[in-house]
Structure formats: structure tokens, C-alpha cells
């Protein structure tokens, strides 16, 4: 009987074996808890067909909920597209904005600075080399000892 119980619990028993098991369990005077559990399981009622399964119609509710999901999905995709456009635009605009300004870069004692006053000041003092760039007026050169009288 225990082998039949194991087979039943493994889901591989046939209908005939289950009926045999049911008969064997009903013949035992004193059942263990496990055997009583199996006996109860074998006596479970099958599902009943309900008439309303074929007659009821919730199509209107179904359509409404599907439409709601569709709108939510559309809003989500629109939001993602707008956010992506903003990020892309930001990435494209910022470097151009930096290039649009005149910038003078001077290397002073190995450190770069864009402070124009400082750059001009250093040009007036003494500089070993100056590298200046500008989008409107590119000046690239090396000035050595120009301010060194």
C-alpha cells in the first residue's frame, strides 16, 4: 500500500491504481495520519460545470480594462520618448555652448586657467609658452620671452 501511496503522490498513478488504493484504505481499521490524508484526497469532489460559465458576458468590462492598459502604455512610451529627447538635446547643446564662447587658455606653471584677466596679466609679465584658442579667432602659437625685456 505504501508503494501505491508514493505512486499516487508522484502523480503517475493510473485511475485503476487509485481505485485500488481507495479500496485498500477503506479496509484498514486504523489509519496513520498519512493514510487518512490520502484517503481524504482520493474522496475529493471533481469540479462542477456551472451554467453561467457559458451565459455570462463580461466583454464590456474586459474591453474597458484593456483600453485602460493600452492608454497607460501609450503615456509611458510618450514619457520615455520625451525624456530621451531632453537628455539627447542636453548632450548635444552643452559642448557647442562651450565652444561658442571665446576662450583663452593659458598654461601657467603647468596649470591651465581660462581667466582672461589672468592670462593677459601673465602675458604682460613673463611666460615661457602660451596656447590660446578661440572659435572666432584661433591663435595658436608659442610666445617665448616676448614679455621679457
Amino acid at each position: 500500500m505504501n508503494k501505491l501511496i508514493d505512486k499516487y503522490l508522484s502523480g503517475t498513478s493510473t485511475r485503476e491504481e487509485e481505485q485500488t488504493l481507495r479500496r485498500m484504505l477503506s479496509a484498514v481499521a486504523s489509519l496513520t495520519p498519512g493514510q487518512r490524508a490520502v484517503q481524504a484526497m482520493l474522496q475529493a469532489e471533481p469540479m462542477q460545470a456551472l451554467p453561467q460559465w457559458l451565459t455570462e458576458d463580461d466583454s464590456a468590462t474586459y474591453d474597458c480594462i484593456v483600453e485602460r492598459h493600452h492608454r497607460a502604455s501609450l503615456w509611458r512610451r510618450t514619457g520615455i520618448a520625451v525624456a530621451a529627447s531632453l537628455v539627447l538635446g542636453f548632450l548635444l547643446v552643452v559642448p557647442r555652448g562651450g565652444e561658442a564662447e571665446n576662450c583663452a587658455v593659458a598654461t601657467i606653471y603647468g596649470q591651465e586657467t581660462t581667466d582672461e584677466a589672468l592670462v593677459l596679466g601673465m602675458m604682460e609679465n613673463t611666460m615661457q609658452s602660451v596656447l590660446a584658442c578661440s572659435t572666432t579667432d584661433h591663435i595658436e602659437g608659442q610666445l617665448t620671452d616676448i614679455l621679457n625685456p
Binding site: 485511475r15 487518512r36 475529493a44
Partner: protein, 167 residues
């Protein structure tokens, strides 16, 4: 509708029913549940159906009803508190603490079945149908026979452990 007519005319509707479930839930697991529940209901009502009845619109209507029914149950579960949920899930006679330790196997069986997943419960009860083989269960639910067997085994072991523990 006979068994062979069911297999010939209802089973091919499976992709259509799956689409109904996917459009509603947007998740594969729930869509599969819808298909299995729909196919099961059509099987259980097969005596009232004829092949000439236009099975496709009937199957679609049943599938939509199943979707709405599952949605309502999910909403009900969300709105109930934990204690209320336990109370609602069990028959009234089981709410007294002592009944959980009752030696009434049938009572414990009802509770144990309530704790199974929908697909496990479906398979457990479907197997109780007269002349129901594993292959036929696979045809009705659209699952592979091996999957039916393993899921049925899992359901039976859960129920068995629960009843044995509380007897």
C-alpha cells in the same frame, strides 16, 4: 461534444485564448492561467456544446469572463486585510481554532486546496473527473504530459503534507 471533437475543435483555439489573456494581463503567467481555466470550463461544459454552435465566439467570451473574474479576485485579495483574507478564504465552520486540529480530513482538504495555486488546484480537481487520464489532462490544459504529472505531484504533496500536519 465528444472528447475527440473537443480535441479537434477546441484545442486549436489555444493561441487565440492566449492572446486574450496577454492583452488583459500583459504577463505570460496569468495569460497561461486564463487559457487553462477557459479550456477546463469548456471541457466541463462540453455536454452543452455542439461543434455547430460556433465554438470560437463562445471560447472568446469564456476567456474574457475568466480574465475579468481573475481580475476581480485579485482586487478583492488586495483590499482585504490579512486576517480578513484568511477568514474569507475558509468556510465559516473552519474559523474556530479547534477545527484546524480536527480529524475531519475533508475539512482540511478544503483548506489545503485553497492554499494551492490556481493551476495546481485545477489539475488536482480535474484528475478527480471520471476517466480522466494524464494525456487527456494535457490535451485539456494545453500542457505537456510531463508538466501535468509534475505539477499534479507537487499539488498532491502540498495537500498531503498540510492534512497530515493538522490531523
Amino acid at each position: 461534444m465528444t472528447q475527440s471533437e473537443y480535441i479537434t475543435h477546441v484545442e486549436p483555439l489555444r493561441p487565440l485564448l492566449l492572446r486574450v489573456g496577454r492583452d488583459f494581463f500583459r504577463r505570460e503567467e496569468e495569460a497561461e492561467d486564463v487559457v487553462q481555466e477557459t479550456l477546463l470550463r469548456l471541457w466541463l461544459c462540453r455536454d452543452r456544446l455542439a461543434v455547430d454552435d460556433g465554438l470560437r465566439p463562445i471560447a472568446l467570451r469564456v476567456a474574457r469572463n475568466v480574465c475579468v473574474s481573475m481580475w476581480r479576485k485579485a482586487r478583492l485579495r488586495e483590499t482585504l486585510t490579512l486576517e480578513e483574507g484568511h477568514a474569507a478564504g475558509r468556510p465559516d465552520s473552519e474559523q474556530a481554532d479547534g477545527r484546524l486540529l480536527s480529524d475531519d480530513g475533508q475539512l482540511l482538504l478544503d483548506i489545503a486546496l485553497g492554499r494551492l495555486s490556481p493551476s495546481e488546484r485545477r489539475l488536482f480537481l480535474l484528475r478527480q473527473e471520471p476517466d480522466m487520464s494524464l494525456d487527456l489532462m494535457a490535451s485539456i490544459t494545453g500542457m505537456q504530459p510531463r508538466s501535468v504529472s509534475s505539477k499534479l505531484s507537487a499539488a498532491r504533496r502540498k495537500v498531503y503534507d498540510f492534512i497530515k500536519q493538522h490531523l
